[in-house]
Amino acid sequence: MKSVKLFVFVVLVLALAMPMTALAQDGKQQVTLWFHSGQGSERDALGELIDQFNAESAEYEIVPVEVPEGSYAEQVKAAALAGDLPCVLDFDGPFVYDYVFSGDLIPLDDYASEELLADVLPSIIDQGTVDGQLWSLGQFDSGLALWGNKAMLEEAGVRIPEGIDDTWTLDEFNSAIEALAGVVPEGGYVLDVQFQLTGEWFSYAFGPWVQSFGGDVIDRETMETAEGVLNGPEAVAFGEWFQSLFEQGYTTATPVDPIADFTEGRVALSYVGHWMYNTYKDALGDDLVLIPQPDLGAGAVTGMGSWNWGITSGCEVPDGAWAFIEFMMQPASIKLMTDANGAVPASLTVLEQDERYAEGGDMYIYSQQLSGGVALPRPATAAYAGIQTGMEDAMNAIARGEDVQASLDAAVDTIDSAIENLAQ
């Protein structure tokens, strides 16, 4: 009996003492960090970079927490309200306006040296700049266009554009889809539009198509309403065209494994971003081609911007947080990351050396789209979360065959009420 009591006592003491020892470990200051759990390769690269930083730094230790991507933005909001935000925060491009508006971040201008910024891709600096101050930096920019299966395209006799100057028009895109429909095998479909995704994908991917039809997701001049823009005749024309793709079976709103569908040759075109490059390249090899965003009437448009880092206003060790971000923005760190996830490196040095993005490279189209004015930033508004929800619902409704006008009207209502809430 006595030995049992002693045992319980020892266990209790140990359990209480454990956290203390964890804190005291080698006297480094701890810096908390949140990141979204993206695809495996990106997560592994980030883990490796954090390990490198922790090994190198004498003063700081990064304590990472991985948060599921599906409701990442909501969890950040909740943590902000509860005052539980970490020091270093990872967030998707357009949310910077929201966080700056809510006072969740501190500007990076005092930390970032001109030398460092001179090597950063201009689109990354644009994305992180609000009211003339820099609030966030990212390791990479995104690329969005159509991945194609060259063998199938050639079999269908479809012209493969060389670059953004001779991209498909809407008519060409339509006839390409029709021709490819004769080539895809039983159980396949022509175009994958990644409808298994949830959240931000719908505004990131289909917002540009709405713009290419002449509409938009918000009135970019005033940023006060989406009325007449997202539910105007141009956007409705987009919706009716998009709906017809589902109606005629060219694409599906209920894919089971669209990535395997493309890599195993059941799908001819896959509308997805740079992050599938490594997977697709491994599977298709030289049959993988990148087709620039088609011009659907009002010029080709694609998305840009990606996840980036900021320092929260509640952070007690902002110097440590910056030390980590500075480390992440070193060309070597950026190279490690972009080699892993196939994204456009945010460092000019790395970009110049990267053969994949040089002329003739597999992803040269992405650099062309970014530098050639095809890639447009997502709208700079703190109501971006409303745009995200509105677009997600509307695209799903249209894909299911619901009335296009009514679906887009509903999206406008969601976005406008998000904007109204900001004004209160």
Partner: protein, 407 residues
Amino acid sequence: MHALFERTFRGRQGREFWTAMLMGGPAFLMLVLFMIWPFIRGIDLSTTNQRFDGSVATRLDPWYRNFDQVLSVNAIKLPDLPDVVPYRAPAAGWYRERTPACNQCQSNFSCDITDPDDAVCAENCAQICERGGLIFRWRGRNLDEIGLGEYSEYEIARQVSFGGNHYAIIAKDPLFWKGLLNNFYFALVVVPVQTGLALLLAIVVNQKLPYRNVFRTMYFSPVVTAMVIIAVVWKFLYNPDFGLINEMIQFVTFGQVEGFRWLQSPDMAMPAIMIMSIWQGVGFQMIIFLAGLQDIPEDLYEASAIDGANIWQQFRFITLPMLRNTMIFVVLTTTILAFRLFDQVNVMTPDGGPNESTATMVWYAIRRGWTQSEVGYASAISVVFVVIVLIVSLIQRTVVKSESAIE
């Protein structure tokens, strides 16, 4: 008063009181911390415009503004149809839906009306397009133009037509009402079906069958599996093109029935979720019924057998009456669980399903409070939700009580 105090807190009875408090304490603490306090906070928050994003919350003026928004409903007569219904939607007013078939026919044949052959084509195309439904475009900010300006805060919840006139039920927040109706629809189907099925299963696994424990475990295993996991798996099973369920329907009917667009069609989405929920939850009620069945003394059956009662009579006059209390418990808990419907909806149809056909009250509260960060408004929805569930439970209790009075 003093004597009462003495009796309660001192002496033998007092010791019992303190023991009871000590034993019950943790549970009371939990109830206060996680039920009562959040509910009080919820009532408080429901009168503010509290949001997630650091903006400062203020008390609403009037304080019931959120509740007014949630609960306001009205019925009005819509303007008459114009002589020619346009295909392009006006700012507000009637238009005809452009069906995919109409779009296809117009893009496939660019009809030339002067050509006699083409006139037929144009005629056909016009007929196809006329099949598109009539839609009234209701845009709050444009309602003034058609003389409905006073309803600019409302949206259309449902349209009805009779006698050539068109009427609309309008609500300030139609999605809440839709969620409420969906909740009742779900409860009205799931509660009786699930209870009946559970009783049937309990009777089956109560027989002295070989391997009956295997069957009990099988029926019970979905209950101990996390709902989210089950919902993800069923989402694949329901896939209209490759899902196992449609494949099975095609196999069983020799390809005569194509299967359904389960989660993609407004008519089937809710039934799909009901089927899955019943399958998941039936094992729990089965176990409770099983316990109830085993409490029925065997000699009742023996006595009735001697009196010449058949199996149906035994079920009707012994099993059912003896299971009365179990039945009441099962129906009450199933009803409350049915109203709490959220997990499966959120996983299988995160956007509330086609035409919001699977939106529920809890789903809607979470969507407004969590996704759209309108905490104050979501609190108002939650308060209304609790009141509705309370009323339903009270009605059920009253019905049960009056029944026992008759007996």
